[in-house]
Structure formats: structure tokens, C-alpha cells
Amino acid sequence: MEAITTFISQTVVYATVYTLVTLGILIGGRAGIFIIFGEGILLTSASTGLIVASSTQNWFLGFLMGAFVGGAAGLAFIYLHETYKVNQFLLGIIFFILGAGLSDLIYKLVIGVTLTPPLAPPTPVVGGKILSEIPILSGFLNQSVVVYFMYAAILIAWWFYYGTKVGLETRAIGENPKVADVVGVNVTLRRYLVTIIGSILIGIAGSYLAIVVIKTYSSGMAGGRGFMAIGITIFASWKPQRALLGGLLFAAVEVLSFTLQIAAKNFPYQLALMLPFLAVLLIMMIFKKKIEFPASVGDPYSRE
């Protein structure tokens, strides 16, 4: 029982990263924007968030920084895409490369100079004595505030897309932007908003990764999670509630691969590390039939 609760607890910790990124991609995707450079945002917000949090000894500022980085990246991306009509995939690849380079650069410039590894203050944990006694449930609930943020984000996204008119319109943009435009929806404004909001979520995930999960920064620490989240988004059929499920699933695979490394000493750890990536491919293969892609993903919108 103890082991299961621990397992759940660990899984939820990692799932927060996956789910927030997936949610970010999903929000953008519903309006036809594919945030394929999530990995780049994760890396940059991880390094900058960690630096800010440790130098100010304020975890919240660290997250704010991460959110800012994400938002800025999203804004730049959607601006370039809609104004100059650059291909989304190419632009996304470039942004990913940029993000990877920037994250290392900033870290090297700041920390390289001071040479002391940054130590970020911990985030407040929701729970306390009573909650942490309950088996299984405590795994889900005895967590950092950021995890609760993730829970809240899922609920809000779900309510927004399926319970509000604005959400309906935003979904329409993903299906067919011309229709939404003709009906009076400001397509361009919406696309800006979703891209920025989605990128902010990813930025928060990046800070979370550095400040809470791994508690340090190293080059490439996002480990491909930004791309795996794309696989999760497809698995989730672009629905927020399934993003949580997918996030938990992949986090579980990742936690399992750690356990395997420790448990089976002779088992080459590299194979365990490969697991999550192969899992993504497998999931995408299995769920191919159930995919409902928003039809306009990938194209900029213009009237003439």
C-alpha cells in the first residue's frame, strides 16, 4: 500500500509537467496552432525560472519568470506566423532550437559567472499531517501547489471548451477558421490568445521541472517531454480531461523506468530510459483510429 501510494505520488509529480505541456499544446491546437516547440519553452523557462527563484529566494517569482518566458515565446511565434505566413512546423523547429540554445546560454552566462549552483526555495505543499495519512488519495492530494494549479487548469479548460460559447467559437476556429470569421469571431485575436496562454502553461511547466522536480538545471533536462506531450495530445484527442489521463500514463512509464534502473541492476539502464519514447510511438499507433484532429492545424489564416 505504501509502495503504491509512493508510486502514485511520484507519478503525479511528473504528470504535472506532462499534463501542463499537453494542455498548452491542446489549447493552441484547438484554434489551429500547433505548439511544436514546447520543448524549447520548457528548457528556457527551466533555466530562467530556476535562476530567478534562487536569486530572489522566492519560488513564485521563479514561476512568474517561466510564465513570462512562455508567453513571450508564444507571442513571438504567433506574430511571425500570422503576419509573415511562415510555415508553422519550420517556425516551430527553429523556435525549439532557439529555446535550447537560449536556455544553455543564459544559464552559462549567469551561473557560469557566479559558479555556485542555484538553490531554489521549495514550493508550499498542500496537505499536512491528516491528508498524508490516507493511502492512495494522499498520493494525489499531498502535493505542491503547482500540482493543484494543474488540476485547476484542467477543470477550467474543460469547462471553457465545452460549457461556454466562447469555447465553442474557439473550437470552430480550429475546425474551419473562415466560418468563424464570417460569423464575426475575431480569429486572429483568438489565435493570439490561445497561443500565448498555451505557451504560458508550458512555461510554468518548465519552471516547475527545474524548481520542484529535478531541483537543478542541466543542458537538455527537458528530456524530450515537450515532444512526448505532442503524442499525449493526440492520444487525448485534444480533450482536456484526457490530457490528465495521458499525463499520468506517461509519468507512470517514466517513474517505472527509474524503478527498473534501480531494481534490476544488471538490466542496462539505457533500455529503461528508452521506454517512454517508445511508449509514445506505441500510443500513437494504437490510438490512430480515434483521432479527431482540428482540421485547420498548421495553416495561417488570411482572408484574401
Binding site: 532550437i97 546560454l105 528530456g223 512526448m228 533500455l271 519514447f277 509514445v280 490512430k288
Partner: protein, 360 residues
């Protein structure tokens, strides 16, 4: 009914026409380069470095000495292969972000086979082509997986190739730490040294692999411009629906273009192992911490359409990388700054190009 404006156009000479068509391109590069270098100059100044020295080291390190030129060529060769590996499928609007992984697996398999056959003492004239073939097949196979996943399951190749990249890097690590292959003395995870009949040498400090690189340039250009497969690849890139309607086999062309890309990246990896490193080691697919895959993507985006322009862009990119390395060693400027410069150049080129073509 048949009034053609032939007269008006043929009045301009061929040369003038070529220049007027090249002009937008020149403008594109001009803007991109000047703005990016300008930004780097500003950042360098802000960080307290001497701007003229930074720029000089960056651009001229390759040319100051023969050693600089050799370093540049050593970088340019693998870069050429990974660039073509991205370039060819990119003509179909499919993005093989896995050139890095394909290079890794190509080199890895070549090393494995070389070590396994060490006791056979095969003559180099047999062994080397065999190892290169292994590298080619390994790279092609990895790329084939991504193409298959796209054809069968409609999985976006960007995602699948990136996943496979991670699988490849773990495979390299696995081989380097495997009992039979590992080099017990090295502090760094790497295999034993490959036997001498499995190595390629240098002439005047330039690796023999340059010959294969030159051959590749020729073959790729012919492929794209003159062969039927090249036409089909281009056609799918222009309009996949029309191409298929008129009889082009989408799946076959997709598989072939990816496999050719993967084969080239694998070959690049094999050559790196056989010619430069003479063993498999973790990190051989990077230069100064920057992956050849990503660099290949950037180099492709600079080029646009013409396969013959790829070696030029690769060379210029290598010049920057040699400069970056020297900058880091002599002036402690982080090499990522140059990475940033490159990404900026590419971004500006892509934007300017998109803007110009939207105007037409």
C-alpha cells in the same frame, strides 16, 4: 487567341534575367546576416567583450591558418550529410528531425560490426565498404521506421523522428558501456579503439571522407533535378493531392526519400567513426555541444531549393562553428551565443523569404 508576351520578355538578356531573379535572394541574406550580426555585436558589447575581436574571431578563425581550415572541413563533412538528410524529405514538406539519431545509429552499427569482425582481419578494401554499407543501412532503417509510422499510422514524422533520436542516443550509450565493447581505460563512455584495417586516413590533414562528401553532393543534385524520383518528390512537395491523383505513389516516394535521407545521415555517422574518432563514443554526433541534426536543419533552411547550395551553406556554417569554438576557448564567450546567432539568421531568412513570396 495565342498571343504570348514572348517578344517583351526575350528582349532582356539572359544575364539580366538571372540577376533579377537572384536579387531577392541576395536581399534576403543581406538583411538576415546584417541584423543577426548586429544583435550579436550588441549582446557581446553588453556582456563586456570587445566587439571587433569577437567578430574577427568568429568569422576569420577558419582562414587564419591551415589548421583552422582543416577544422572547418572536419565539421563541414558530417554537417553536409545531416543537412542533406533533412533537405531531401523536406522537399516533400516532411521534416526529418531525426538526422542526428540516424547519424548516431549509423556510426554505432559501423563500430559494432568493426569490433565484431576484428579477429577476421579482413583487408581494408573489403572491410571499409562493408562498414560504410552497415552505417548506411542502419541510418536508412531508423528513418524507415519513421516513414512507415507516417504511412501506416499517420504519425507526424517530426514527433516520431525525435522519439527515435532519443532511442538512438541511448543505444550509443548502451554500446559504449557494454561489456564486450567498452574501453575500460577511458574516463569517457566509449568503445575500444577500432582495428587499423577499419580506419580511414587523412591526406594533408584532410580526411578521406571528403571524397564521399563530394560524391554525395553530385548524386543528390542529380537526384533532385534530373531523376524521376526527384520529380516525384518535388511534385508531392508542391501539391500532394494533385501528385497522387496523377499517379505518383505517395507511400513509396515517402519511404524512399526518408530512407535516402537516413542513409546519408548514417553514412555521415559511419565516416565520423571510421575516419575521425576511430571508435564509438558518446557525444560524437555533436560539435561543441551542438547537434549535427539541428545544425543540418538550420543549414537547410538557409538554402531554399537548390541542392548545390547546400555545401556552400554547410561550409559557412562550419566557419561560424570553428569561430565559436575559438571564441569559447580564447575569450570565454559561451558557444551558445553563436548558436543563437545561427538560429537568428535562419529565422530572419525564413521570415524575409515568406514575406517576399507573399508579395508576389
Amino acid at each position: 487567341m495565342a498571343i504570348t508576351p514572348k517578344a517583351a520578355v526575350s528582349a532582356r538578356s539572359g544575364g539580366a534575367r538571372t540577376l533579377s531573379r537572384a536579387l531577392p535572394g541576395i536581399k534576403v541574406y543581406g538583411i538576415a546576416l546584417s541584423v543577426s550580426f548586429g544583435v550579436i555585436a550588441v549582446i557581446s558589447a553588453a556582456l563586456g567583450y570587445s566587439v571587433p575581436e569577437v567578430l574577427r574571431t568568429l568569422v576569420f578563425s577558419s582562414f587564419r591558418s591551415f589548421a583552422g581550415l582543416k577544422s572547418t572541413i572536419k565539421i563541414c563533412i558530417p554537417l553536409l550529410f545531416t543537412t542533406y538528410a533533412f533537405f531531401i524529405p523536406a522537399k516533400m514538406r516532411f521534416y526529418n528531425v531525426g538526422a542526428w539519431g540516424q547519424m548516431l545509429i549509423g556510426g554505432a552499427m559501423a563500430a559494432v560490426v568493426a569490433l565484431l569482425l576484428a579477429d577476421w582481419n579482413l583487408p581494408p578494401v573489403v572491410l571499409i565498404p562493408l562498414l560504410l554499407l552497415t552505417a548506411i543501412l542502419a541510418g536508412a532503417a531508423l528513418a524507415w521506421v519513421a516513414a512507415y509510422l507516417k504511412a501506416q499510422y499517420d504519425i507526424n514524422p517530426i514527433v516520431s523522428t525525435i522519439m527515435l533520436n532519443f532511442v538512438a542516443i541511448q543505444s550509443v550509450s548502451l554500446i559504449c558501456t557494454a561489456r564486450g565493447f567498452m574501453d575500460p581505460t577511458g574516463g569517457h563512455p566509449q568503445t575500444k579503439l577500432l582495428p587499423s584495417n577499419a580506419t580511414l586516413g587523412f591526406v594533408a590533414g584532410i580526411p578521406y571522407s571528403i571524397l564521399l562528401a563530394a560524391l554525395t553532393i553530385l548524386l543528390v543534385s542529380v537526384l533532385i533535378n534530373r531523376t524521376r524520383l526527384g520529380y516525384e518528390i518535388n511534385a508531392i512537395g508542391y501539391n500532394p493531392v494533385a501528385a497522387q491523383s496523377y499517379g505518383i505513389d505517395f507511400r513509396k516516394t515517402l519511404m524512399l526519400s526518408f530512407c535516402i535521407g537516413g542513409a546519408l545521415a548514417g553514412l555521415g555517422g559511419g565516416l565520423e567513426i571510421l575516419n575521425i574518432h576511430n571508435r564509438l563514443l558518446v557525444g560524437f554526433g555533436d560539435i561543441s555541444g551542438l547537434e549535427f541534426g539541428a545544425l543540418g536543419i538550420l543549414a537547410t533552411l538557409v538554402v531554399g531549393e537548390n541542392p548545390m547550395a547546400v555545401p556552400v551553406s554547410c561550409f559557412l556554417w562550419s566557419v561560424l562553428l570553428v569561430g565559436a569554438d575559438r571564441l569559447q576557448r580564447t575569450m570565454q564567450v559561451p558557444v551558445e551565443l553563436v548558436f543563437l546567432l545561427q538560429a537568428m539568421i535562419v529565422l530572419l531568412i525564413v521570415i524575409t523569404r515568406a514575406k517576399l513570396s507573399a508579395k508576389r
